[in-house]
Symmetry: C2
């Protein structure tokens, strides 16, 4: 073998990273289930037609260009899924007897043959939670309460910015702005580039100072729902406002304090139709969003014959920025899940027996395999980050005890096996 390489843009996840990833995923999925969401798994391989349906990716013609395309032995064109939303839409459309609302979460690899940037790989995991089949704002409330619970459990201090596309569209309508999608993309940058920056962008798009002033009469940092209530006259805008008021009344009952209204948070994707939300770290080095989503009432129905509307709302958690944040804040750390390494000195039989007692007591136990000498075994435990070792020589066997060594302090204790179980179980 001359040249052994990974495929471009993918990476291995070695044990010390995979342990953290698995922990975060299981913490999150446990909370998803607490909120009544159940797992759905769809295949990684989908028909290319399903993935490339013109409405599949919202505005994302980029996503289409980035689909990994392949053929099966029957010469059918397939693709690797690029998100978990299109497969959900396909699943709902193929299972018309599904009980609605259908509340599901999905965790799995998605693939995008795109440019490789820092922290972005061509194969990565997404975690999506969606409620399909209801227009009720209770669905949004539940998802936001769940997100709040996720970040509380992870001990991360976040703000979840909440807005509504109908409200934004109403404001733009009142200001006489036609190309609302483009304007929304500009407004989405308000917190980054300020009113001046956004004004400049809108000017470049050909809007008058009068129009732009009208926009900023309504869209200002920290504007409240109450203030807007007086100023919005457009019907769609009023509808969006009413939805937000309903949503925040539910969030109050659910004691969700991290969710706040933010008129400048718009999210890029074209397929959102109502509520949009995005979670950011309050103070910290990671500025990218940790989760985001919204309501998309028009997308799934397009997969159905006749195009019946199938309302839906969902959130996607960013596993990479969440893990990065936890590491930076030192809120997660584990090189290994193994608790103890058993090191026999001419006592293999007894040491094997003791290992089984530890394992049967629920203590993750490794056994020194093919290492010559105690010091080699201690080095091994040290390099893997195993916190304890048990050294078992003939002397210990005679005393019916074992020598427990705390690898970080180096202190040793002569204990019975029961004593070790008690100490390591906590």
């Amino acid at each position: 073998m001359t040249e052994l390489q990974l495929a471009k843009g993918v990476k291995d996840t070695p044990p010390e990273e995979k342990i953290v990833k698995d922990k975060v995923v299981s913490t999150l999925t446990n909370i998803f289930e607490l909120y009544g969401f159940m797992p759905l798994e769809t295949p990684i391989l989908e028909r290319y037609e399903t993935l490339s349906a013109k409405f599949a990716a919202g505005e994302a013609s980029d996503a289409l260009k980035e689909i990994f395309k392949l053929k099966d032995q029957g010469d059918r064109t397939l693709g690797l899924r690029f998100d978990l939303t299109v497969p959900l839409a396909r699943y709902v459309a193929m299972n018309l007897n599904l009980k609605l609302p259908f509340k599901r979460y999905a965790v799995g690899s998605v693939f995008r043959d795109g440019p490789i940037k820092l922290g972005r790989t061509r194969e990565f995991w997404q975690m999506d939670i969606d409620t399909v089949g209801t227009k009720s704002m209770l669905a949004e409330a539940e998802i936001l309460a769940m997100a709040d619970s996720v970040f509380k459990t992870l001990n991360l201090n976040v703000v979840i910015k909440v807005n509504n596309r109908k409200l934004l569209n109403g404001i733009l309508e009142q200001a006489g702005i036609d190309q609302k999608e483009e304007a929304i993309i500009a407004i989405d940058k308000l917190n980054k580039i300020g009113e001046e920056g956004v004004s400049k962008e809108l000017k470049m798009r050909g809007y008058s100072t009068k129009q732009i002033n009208k926009v900023f009469a309504l869209i200002r940092n920290n504007v409240t729902l109450r203030e807007l209530n007086i100023k919005i006259v457009d019907e769609t805008g009023k509808e969006g406002l009413a939805e937000l008021e309903e949503l925040f009344s539910y969030l109050k009952s659910m004691n969700v304090k991290s969710a706040v209204f933010d008129i400048s948070m718009a999210r890029g994707l074209a397929y959102y139709t109502g509520t949009v939300f995005e979670a950011f770290l309050k103070n910290g080095e990671v500025t990218s969003s940790l989760a985001g989503g919204g309501r998309y009432d028009n997308m799934i129905g397009k997969y159905l014959d006749g195009g019946k509307e199938v309302p839906a709302v969902g959130i996607s958690f960013g596993l990479v920025p969440i893990i990065e944040t936890l590491k930076l804040e030192k809120k997660v750390e584990s090189k290994t899940n193994t608790k103890v390494l058993v090191i026999p000195i001419n006592t293999i039989k007894e040491s094997l027996e003791i290992s089984q007692i530890l394992r049967n007591s629920g203590i993750a136990t490794d056994f020194s395999l093919g290492k010559k000498g105690v010091s080699k075994s201690l080095q091994y435990a040290d390099s893997l980050g195993i916190p304890y070792t048990i050294i078992i020589g003939e002397d210990e066997i005679n005393k019916k005890k074992v020598l427990l060594r705390d690898m970080s302090s180096g202190t040793e204790q002569l204990l019975t096996v029961d004593g070790v179980v008690k100490k390591l179980k906590t």
Copy 2:
């Protein structure tokens, strides 16, 4: 959308199946970790050269033909991994500073563009556990003890047949049989087609009656290691026998009773070099093996420059037959992990508050979203298999109680929220 289909040969895993799959996977991975194995994740996309290396698939030219091939935007030829062993070999070869023994487990999708048979899909999960870097029989013992523990925990009564390729090769050598791989494949069928059937196959391959008799003088159902000890003269055969004796002495110390020596169990793959093992249900409808593996000391090293030997032993659990068995034996059942559905009757605010109390107490709680009327909500709970509902009307709120309904018996109880928590927590 005219025709919405899955890719050929793949399937969706709906929530009621995915819940079972996730439970089995987490039961198993917990046990892997009890035995000191840590998770490794490698990408699904690998370079085609890595997958197609002539030694990658053992004898499996079939596997090569079944690789899903694709190109990335840089015109590099990639493939979807067809197993988890080749990526492990690639990982070990690319990480030469890895501490040995390297004990890892891996769970993930693999892909084979092959014919579609019952229970076989083109995209399926494998669960592999391997110890890399030691020739010690302690590695085999640990893996077999772990497998024993897995099946005990799943409450499945299995026999793990254990044999050794060196022993088989020695027996064949003594009988003057050259094409040992082919003979081994015939012998592997002893339990299915009997001595007569195997004799016939060996005759067809051109071996004499005398040679065949020599084989069966040693290979008989229920032959013991002790009996063979007297009869084996070939050096390789003796080595295999000694390895088995060492292994079974360790298994005895570890109290592993499901593992038994079986001279006729050989396993097909050419890359095994020593111990081989395979787990079968003792009595039951599922006759395919539930797990299998063995020692393959020559494969990983072939990925290294210079071809240094890297010994390894591993086991792979068959998720599909394990789940099928658990279902047939009714040892696993869950339509949902949700414990209770909260149904408000004009009490949304209070019901939302109560839902949060339940969730914060660790009870998986669904909330009736956009359902009109109690009976529709009850039907919803029933069809999803949610075992309890809580009906909250104004009357209940005034009494500071809620109405808990057991969905299977239909009995109802007026309880405080604390009372509900106590009842449902158990």
